[in-house]
C-alpha cells in the first residue's frame, strides 16, 4: 500500500521539480533585466534627466500603450520589406552558390564581384538604390536583400562543398548522376550551413529595411525613427527601437523553429 503510494507520488514530484528548475533558470536573466530597468528608471528620476534626452522606462511604456496603433502602422511596412528582402536575398544567394559549386568558371567570374559589392557599406549604397528604385517599397526590399546576400552565399558554398569524400565515393559506387548527388547528398548536407546563414540574415534584413527607410520613406519603423528624433519625441523613438528589435527577434525565432523542425540530425 505504502509502496504504491510512493510510486504514484514520485512522478508528480519529479515533474514539479523539473518545472521549478526551469522557472529558476528563467528567473536569472529575467531578474537581471528587471533590475536594470529599475536602475534606469531610478537614475533618470534621481538625476532629473529631461524626457527628450533620456526617457524613463515608464515613459516609454506609456507611449507604447498610447501610440500602439501608430507603431503598428509603421511596423507592417518594415515587416513586409524585411521578409521580402530576406527571401529574395537568400534565394538569390543559394542559387548563385549552386552555380558556383557546379562551375569553377562562374565562380571565378563572379566571386570577386560579389566580394566587391559586399565591401561597399550598406549606408553608402542605400542612396544609390533609392535613386534607382524610387521612394517606394522596392528600394528597401533590394537593400534588405543585398545585406542578406553575401553571408548566405559564402556559407552556402561552404555547405555544398562540405560533403565528405567517402560520401562521394559511395555515390560513385552507386553510379549516381550529378543531379542525384546534388539532391540526395550535397543539398541536405548544406542545410546546417544554410540555417546558420539564415539566422544571420533574419536580423540583418531588418537593418537593411530600416536603413532604406532612413533615406526616404513616409512609413516604416525607419521613417518613424527619423521623425521622432527630429521632433525630440524620445519616448516614441525608444518605443520604435524596441519594436524594431522585436521584429528581428520574431524573424530570428521563426528561423530557429524552422531549423529545429527540419534539421533533426
Amino acid at each position: 500500500m505504502s509502496t504504491s503510494e510512493t510510486t504514484i507520488a514520485k512522478p508528480s514530484y519529479r515533474l514539479s521539480g523539473h518545472t521549478v528548475k526551469r522557472l529558476y533558470n528563467l528567473s536569472i536573466p529575467l531578474g537581471t533585466a528587471i533590475a536594470l530597468l529599475l536602475i534606469w528608471q531610478l537614475g533618470v528620476r534621481i538625476f532629473n534627466v529631461p524626457i527628450y534626452i533620456a526617457p524613463a522606462p515608464s515613459d516609454v511604456a506609456d507611449i507604447f500603450y498610447r501610440e500602439f496603433p501608430l507603431l503598428m502602422r509603421n511596423f507592417w511596412p518594415t515587416f513586409m520589406e524585411s521578409v521580402a528582402g530576406f527571401f529574395i536575398g537568400n534565394l538569390t544567394a543559394v542559387l548563385i552558390a549552386i552555380a558556383f559549386v557546379h562551375s569553377r568558371l562562374v565562380e571565378r567570374a563572379f566571386f570577386p564581384i560579389a566580394v566587391f559589392i559586399n565591401t561597399i557599406p550598406i549606408l553608402a549604397i542605400a542612396p544609390i538604390l533609392v535613386l534607382i528604385f524610387g521612394p517606394g517599397m522596392t528600394a528597401k526590399v533590394v537593400i534588405a536583400a543585398l545585406i542578406c546576400f553575401f553571408p548566405t552565399l559564402v556559407n552556402m558554398v561552404r555547405g555544398l562543398q562540405s560533403v565528405s569524400p567517402q560520401a562521394l565515393e559511395l555515390a560513385r559506387i552507386l553510379s549516381a548522376s550529378k543531379s542525384e548527388v546534388f539532391w540526395k547528398i550535397r543539398l541536405p548536407s548544406s542545410l546546417p550551413f544554410m540555417f546558420s546563414a539564415l539566422k544571420i540574415a533574419s536580423t540583418t534584413c531588418v537593418i537593411g529595411a530600416i536603413v532604406g527607410e532612413w533615406i526616404g520613406a513616409n512609413v516604416g519603423l525607419g521613417a518613424l525613427i527619423i521623425e521622432s528624433t527630429f521632433n525630440f519625441r524620445a519616448p516614441l523613438l525608444y518605443a520604435t527601437v524596441f519594436i524594431s528589435s522585436g521584429l528581428s527577434v520574431l524573424l530570428f525565432v521563426s528561423v530557429t523553429i524552422a531549423e529545429k523542425l527540419i534539421i533533426r540530425w
Binding site: 567517402q166 565515393e169 559506387i173 553510379s175 541536405p188 548536407s189
Partner: protein, 267 residues
C-alpha cells in the same frame, strides 16, 4: 581415387571467377601505389587483405571497385569491366567510416542504393531481402527509425553492411570496416559477418590491419608488401569453417598468427 580426380576437374570447370586482376598497376602521379598485381578470386571466397600501412590495401579495393583506374593491366569482375560491374551493382563497398547520411534514419539509409538510378532506368538487382529484413539480419530490428547519431559506432557499421547488401552484391568489398570499433564489438561483428557470408554466399574482400581478424575471418589471407604495393603471398587458412570465438585460443590459430607476423616483418 579416379572419382575424386573427376570431381576435382569438374569443380575446376564450373569454377566462377569473381574478380580477376592481371598485371594491374595503379599510379598516383609519379608514385606507384600498386605494381603488377595478378590475382584470381573465386566466387564465394572470403579473402582478407593484410599488409604494412601504405602498401596499397585500400587502393586495391578502389581498383576493383572502379574508384581508381589501372595505369596498366586489367581488372574484370565476373567477366565484365569494372565499370559495367559497377553499373550492374555487382559489387558493394563498406567503408571504414560508416558513411551513413546523417539526415536519413537507418531504414532510409539502407534504401538509398535502391533510390539511386531508379529514374534513369538503371536495372537494379533486387535482392531476396527487403531493407527491413536486412536490418533484422544485422541485428537492428526495431531501430529502423533511429538516426545515425542515435546509434553506436558498431550499429552504424551494421547499417552500412545492410545497405551494402541491399542490391544483393556478388562481391562485397570491405575497407577496414571494424577498424574504429572496440574489441568486443569487433568480435561480435566478426561472427555476424561470417554468418552473413554463409547465408548470402557472396564473395568478400576484407582489408584489415589486425592479424587475428585476418585469420579469424579469412579462408585466404592476401599479404601485400609496400613500396610499391605488390602481392607478397597468399596464405590458406585451414581452420574449420563455422568459426567460434574460442578458436582464438586454439594453438593452430596462434601458429597462423606468428607465421603472418613474421611475414609482415619481412615486408
Amino acid at each position: 581415387m579416379n572419382a575424386v580426380d573427376k570431381s576435382l576437374t569438374q569443380e575446376q570447370e564450373s569454377r566462377i571467377i569473381a574478380a580477376s586482376i592481371s598485371e594491374a598497376s595503379v599510379k598516383f602521379g609519379t608514385l606507384t601505389a600498386l605494381r603488377d598485381i595478378s590475382l584470381e578470386i573465386d566466387s564465394g571466397d572470403f579473402y582478407t587483405i593484410l599488409g604494412p600501412s601504405g602498401c596499397g590495401k585500400s587502393t586495391l579495393l578502389r581498383l576493383v571497385s572502379d574508384l581508381v583506374p589501372p595505369a596498366s593491366g586489367s581488372v574484370k569482375i565476373f567477366g565484365k569491366s569494372t565499370e559495367a560491374a559497377r553499373l550492374a551493382r555487382e559489387f558493394a563497398f563498406v567503408f571504414q567510416d560508416s558513411t551513413l547520411l546523417p539526415w536519413r534514419n537507418a531504414l532510409k539509409n539502407v534504401e538509398l542504393p535502391l533510390e539511386i538510378g531508379r529514374k534513369r532506368n538503371i536495372k537494379l538487382p533486387t535482392g531476396d531481402r527487403t531493407p527491413h529484413e536486412l536490418l533484422e539480419l544485422v541485428g537492428l530490428k526495431g531501430r529502423e527509425d533511429a538516426l545515425p547519431h542515435e546509434l553506436s559506432g558498431g550499429m552504424r557499421q551494421r547499417v552500412a553492411i545492410a545497405r551494402a547488401l541491399v542490391c544483393q552484391p556478388k562481391l562485397l568489398l570491405m575497407d577496414e570496416p571494424f577498424g574504429a570499433l572496440d574489441e568486443m564489438t569487433r568480435d561480435h561483428l566478426n561472427l555476424q559477418l561470417l554468418d552473413i557470408w554463409k547465408e548470402t554466399g557472396t564473395t568478400i574482400l576484407f582489408v584489415t590491419h589486425s592479424i587475428p581478424e585476418a585469420i579469424f575471418l579469412g579462408q585466404k589471407v592476401l599479404m601485400l608488401k609496400a613500396n610499391p604495393g605488390r602481392v607478397k603471398d597468399v596464405i590458406n587458412i585451414d581452420l574449420p569453417m563455422p568459426r567460434k570465438i574460442a578458436l582464438r585460443e586454439d594453438p593452430s590459430f596462434n601458429n597462423y598468427c606468428s607465421q603472418l607476423r613474421k611475414l609482415l616483418e619481412d615486408c
